[in-house]
Symmetry: C2
C-alpha cells in the first residue's frame, strides 16, 4: 500500500492520450472516478468518509467530532485531485497520495495519534470548468456565495447546480460549513513546487511562507459579426483588435508593476475563418507581491481594451500561520521557506482562520500546469516522510 | 409551392435558439436534414436527383447526358445550404430556394426549355467545419486534391473521410468529376448581396463582375505551457503575445495595401485561465483587388508573429464570363454590375472554365455571415423572376 501503488492507480484517470496531459474537471465522469478512488482508499484503511456541503471529501482516522468537544480538533492533510486542461500528474494528486502514504507510514510505525487525522480531497481547486479557483474550499469557508456558485456556467452553458444534480448531489446543500471546518485544528497541504527555487537551492522540500495576492477577471469585448471579405476595414467593429490590445497591455503593465499577468483563455464567437467575431471573451489572471498593483493591472488592461474588468475572484496576500511554519521548518531539517504566486486551498483555509501550512516538493523542470511538471520519486518519498513527521508532531 | 413555403420549410433547420444564427455544417445531422429537404423538393417536381463525387446534389429537369451528346449542355442554377457558425438565413439558401421557385415559375408559365435545367446544392461552401471554402466545387473541378480533402480535420479531430463514412458516403469516391461538369453549359448563382451597394443604388438586383483574389492561411504559434502564477515574465514563451502581434499587423498591413484582413478564428491550447498556452492557432483571411497585395498581407502577418503562413486556400482574381454577364445585364433591366470580396462556387466553376455568372439580391443591412443579413420579400421575388428570365433565355 505504498506511495507507488497509490500513484499507479491514479495515473491513467483523465489522461488525454494525444497530449499526455490530464483533463480532470469538476463533476465530470473523470472526477467521479477520482472520487471513487478516494472513497476506496479511505474504506480500505477503515477511515470514516464524509462529504461536506461543497462536496469536498474527508477521510478521518479517529473521531473528529469527539475531538472538537474535547477542545483538541484534528490535523488535516491533503490537497485536490482535479486538474487544469492538459495539466500535469502532480499538481494536487501528489498531496492526496502523500497524505494516504503518510498515514500508512505512521501506522506501520505503530504511531497512534492523540488527535484525529483527516485526509481531504478539495473539489474544483483549479476552477478549470466553472472559472473559480478553490471553489470547494471557498464555498465551505463562506468566501464564495452559494447562489453565485450554483449559477456558474461551464463552456457548454451548464451550471454548477445542474452538474451537481447530474452527479447525484443536491445543489441546495451548497454553503458555508462551519461544522466541517471546526474539525480542522490545523491543515497542512503538500504540493509540487511550481518553480525552480528548490532545484536551485539543491533541497528536496520547502515550507510555504505566503501566497501572493492574485485575481481573475473577465473581459467582455463586444463586436459586430460581419463577413470577412465584404466588410470594409473602416466599417468593422472587430473585437479581436481589443483582444490584441489587452494581451499586449497585460504584459507591459505587469512588467512595469512587477506582477505577472496572463491571458490564457479566450472564447471567440462565432469563431469562423471568414466571419468578423461578434464578441470575444478573455480571462485575465494577475498576481504580484502588492495587491494594489495586481488590481491596477486588471484595470489598466480593461481600460486599454475599452471595457471594464469583471472580477471573478480576488484573494489578498495570505501569510501562513507563523508559529506553525516555524515548527515545520524546525522539524524538517531547517527546510527553506518559499512564497508562491499560486493559489491553494491552504490559503483559503488560512484566510478563514484555520492555522494552515504548505510543504513544497522539488520540481526539477520548474514547469507547472503542463505534462512537463515533475517530481523525482525520491523527493516524493521525502515529502511523504516529512508529512508523517509533521502529522505525528501536530497530532500529539 | 411558391417561394414562401420553400423558405418556411428551410427556416428552422440548424437554427440556434440562443443566437438566432444558423449552424449548418458539412456532413452533420443538420446537413443531412438539408439534403433530405433538397431531395424531397427535387422528387416532388419530378426532377432527376444525382450526387456527384464530392456529394454535391443536382436535380435535373430534362436529360443532361443526352444534352451533352447533342452538344447543348444544360443550364445550372443554385447555390449552397450550409452556413458559417451563427450565420444568416440567406447566404446560400436564397440561391437554392430561388432556383426551385424559378423552375416553378417557368412551369406555371408553360415554358418548356430546349436545354435541361439543373438545380445544384453545393456541399460545404463555407468551409466552417473543415476549413476549406467551396470544398464541394473545388473537389469536382480538381482544385482540391482528394487526398488532402480526406485528411482535413474538424475542431474535434474528425477527418472529412470519417465524417463522410459516418454520413453513409464513400470517401474513396472523392475526386474530380468531369462527367458532372460536362453537363453544365452555363451556371448562374443567385446570392444575397454582402454589402450595401444595391441599397445605396436603390436597385433590387445586380449582376456580378468578378471575385477578388482571396485566401486563407493558418498561423501556428508555439509556446510553452506553464503556470500563470509562478512563471516569471522573462521565463515565458507565451504564444498569446504572437497572436496579438498577428492581429494588429493584419489590420495595419491590410490598410496599407488596400486589402481586407481578418483573424476570426483562433484555437488556444489548453485554454485555461491559469495556464500559459502551449500553442495558439490562428486563421487569417485576406482579400483585395490585387493578388500580390493579398499574399503580402499573409507573409507580413506571419513574419511579424515569428512564424510562416500555411496556405489553406488561395483563389486569384476571378472575372465572370463577359458575354454572359452582358446578356444578363441586358435581360435584367440594365442591372448594375458589382464585384465582390466573397468567394463563391460560381467563381470556382468559372476558374474551371464553366461560363458562370452571379446575381445579387439587395441586402438592406449590408451585413453578412450574421443573423442580421437580410433581404426584403419583394426583392427575393424579383430575384426569382430574374432567375426565371435568365434560365428561359439561356435554355432556349
Amino acid at each position: 500500500m505504498g506511495f507507488d501503488s497509490l500513484w499507479a492507480d491514479l495515473e491513467p484517470i483523465g489522461r488525454d492520450r494525444r497530449t499526455g496531459g490530464y483533463r480532470r474537471f469538476a463533476w465530470t465522469a473523470e472526477d467521479d472516478t477520482l472520487r471513487s478512488w478516494f472513497a476506496g482508499e479511505a474504506r480500505s484503511r477503515g477511515l470514516d468518509l464524509t462529504e461536506d456541503r461543497a462536496g469536498n471529501q474527508w477521510a478521518w482516522w479517529g473521531d473528529p467530532d469527539a475531538a472538537v468537544v474535547a477542545g483538541r480538533p484534528g490535523v488535516a492533510i491533503g490537497s485536490h485531485l482535479d486538474s487544469v486542461p492538459d495539466g500535469g500528474a502532480f499538481d494536487g494528486p501528489l498531496g492526496v497520495v502523500s497524505a494516504f502514504a503518510a498515514v500508512d507510514l505512521l501506522r506501520d510505525r505503530g504511531v497512534s495519534p492523540d488527535r484525529p487525522v483527516g485526509i481531504v480531497n478539495f473539489g474544483d481547486e483549479e476552477g478549470a470548468r466553472f472559472g473559480i479557483a478553490c471553489a470547494g474550499s471557498r464555498i465551505i469557508t463562506g468566501a464564495l456565495d452559494p447562489d453565485r456558485a450554483r449559477g456558474l456556467t461551464d463552456g457548454d452553458g451548464i451550471t454548477l447546480a445542474e452538474s451537481l444534480t447530474r452527479a447525484g448531489r443536491d445543489p441546495a446543500a451548497l454553503g458555508a460549513d462551519p461544522e466541517t471546518l471546526r474539525r480542522v485544528g490545523v491543515f497542512v497541504e503538500l504540493h509540487v513546487e511550481q518553480g525552480r527555487a528548490l532545484a536551485e537551492l539543491d533541497r528536496p522540500l520547502a515550507v510555504g511562507s505566503s501566497i501572493w495576492p492574485h485575481g481573475r477577471w473577465r473581459l467582455d469585448l463586444a463586436g459586430e459579426a460581419n463577413h470577412a471579405g465584404t466588410t470594409r476595414l473602416a466599417d468593422r467593429r472587430d473585437p479581436m483588435l481589443d483582444l490584441a490590445t489587452a494581451i499586449l497591455t497585460a504584459r507591459a503593465v505587469a512588467e512595469a508593476r512587477r506582477c505577472v499577468a496572463t491571458i490564457g483563455k479566450v472564447r471567440v464567437a462565432p469563431n469562423g475563418v471568414n466571419a468578423i467575431p461578434s464578441s470575444v471573451t478573455a480571462w485575465l489572471d494577475s498576481r504580484g507581491a502588492n495587491a494594489d498593483d495586481v488590481r491596477a493591472v486588471a484595470e489598466q488592461v480593461a481600460a486599454g481594451a475599452g471595457t471594464t474588468a469583471v472580477e471573478e475572484s480576488f484573494t489578498g496576500d495570505t501569510a501562513f500561520d507563523r508559529p506553525l511554519r516555524e515548527r515545520l521548518v524546525a522539524l524538517l531539517d531547517n527546510a527553506p521557506v518559499l512564497g508562491t504566486g499560486a493559489g491553494h486551498d491552504a490559503g483559503i483555509l488560512a484566510t478563514a482562520g484555520v492555522p494552515s501550512a504548505m510543504l513544497f516538493v522539488r520540481n526539477p523542470t520548474g514547469v507547472s500546469h503542463s505534462p512537463a511538471e515533475f517530481a523525482e520519486r525520491g523527493d516524493c518519498l521525502s515529502g511523504v516522510a516529512a508529512l508523517a513527521v509533521a502529522v505525528e508532531d501536530l497530532a500529539r
